[in-house]
Symmetry: C2
Subunit: 192 residues, 2 copies
């Protein structure tokens, strides 16, 4: 009955944890799917039931990621582009980045920072996020210029807040960091 | 004497013009180096003396591009991150995007907009620009947060201004558009 897939409780999470552990120890390129599966005490077959390839361990859920932000833009109260984006970022990150997610995010980012091809992949993911939020703002009747500027600056704010959030010893919530970074952006822009 | 490269006056520019013409007519993917060379009335050998491959016709000078912006950040007067970036963008774009460059830039962008792999390439180029400007600001003693925010928002402003600059019928200079976009960013950020 080889086609019968036994369900492995928590297999996906075990594979993700095992992968991050291996990537941290021996690098992303130097790690095989077989090693990840073995570390998790699972088979390669089980690995490929959950992930298309090694990279997907780090980037699975990307569509869901963008969808959460876009839904937050759709639902945010307010009329002007940047308030909508600020509200949307706060809503989306409170659901995507709760405190218990911080150590996973930190470990994942360390793996990405060590590999140029993963950095490009992450960059394209964030750029796709900016494009998706721009479209969501346009659907709300915001002009192309304001929508692009707000979404792109919003992603810049998100990135800086994220970097702060995963910094060693940081205990503030993502939302608190977003507010601090938006305040800094405002003071920076006011000097021009 | 096959190793003796005859110098072709204006060959590089002729090849670039021919490439854009072909890309516009039959798509980037659907164009060969042989066709570009033939359109320019030159040989493939001459093409490869000027460009490593077809893509480089669109992306040659990328290091020089970033260098002009970084030099402008190094030399801009002022102490705060965003004023430095605003001054640097004005200086760099006035040298890189004079009025006579507009139709080339417009044609190049149309080719890029039609091809997802070129879009990714362009995105990585602009991201590298943000990283280079962030480092240049850090060397001037600006904090990591302010440097990242200013450089990333600066690139967002650059992109919006560039899109405006190449829009059909637009006659304002790049510098005028940058000022308008910075003003819009200020008003957007002030609402948060």
């Amino acid at each position: 009955m080889e086609a019968m897939a036994r369900w492995q409780p928590g297999a996906r999470e075990r594979l993700q944890t095992a992968a991050l552990e291996r990537f941290a120890q021996q690098g992303y390129e130097g790690t095989t799917v077989a090693e990840i599966a073995a570390t998790a005490g699972l088979t390669e077959r089980t690995f490929f039931r959950h992930f298309a390839d090694k990279r997907e361990v780090l980037f699975s859920g990307q569509e869901e990621f963008a969808r959460v932000f876009v839904a937050a833009v759709d639902e945010a109260e307010g009329d002007d582009a940047m308030s909508i984006i600020a509200t949307a970022l706060a809503t989306a990150t409170s659901s995507l980045f709760p405190g218990e997610r911080r150590s996973w995010s930190r470990a994942r980012q360390a793996v990405i920072d060590a590999d140029p091809s993963l950095q490009e992949r992450e960059l394209l993911k964030l750029s796709a996020l900016a494009v998706a939020m721009t479209s969501a703002l346009r659907r709300r009747g915001i002009s192309a210029t304001a929508a692009t500027l707000a979404a792109e600056s919003g992603v810049a704010v998100f990135r800086v807040a994220f970097t702060g959030w995963i910094a060693a010893g940081e205990e503030r919530s993502f939302g608190e960091l977003l507010r601090a970074v938006f305040a800094e952006l405002r003071s920076l822009v006011d000097t021009v």
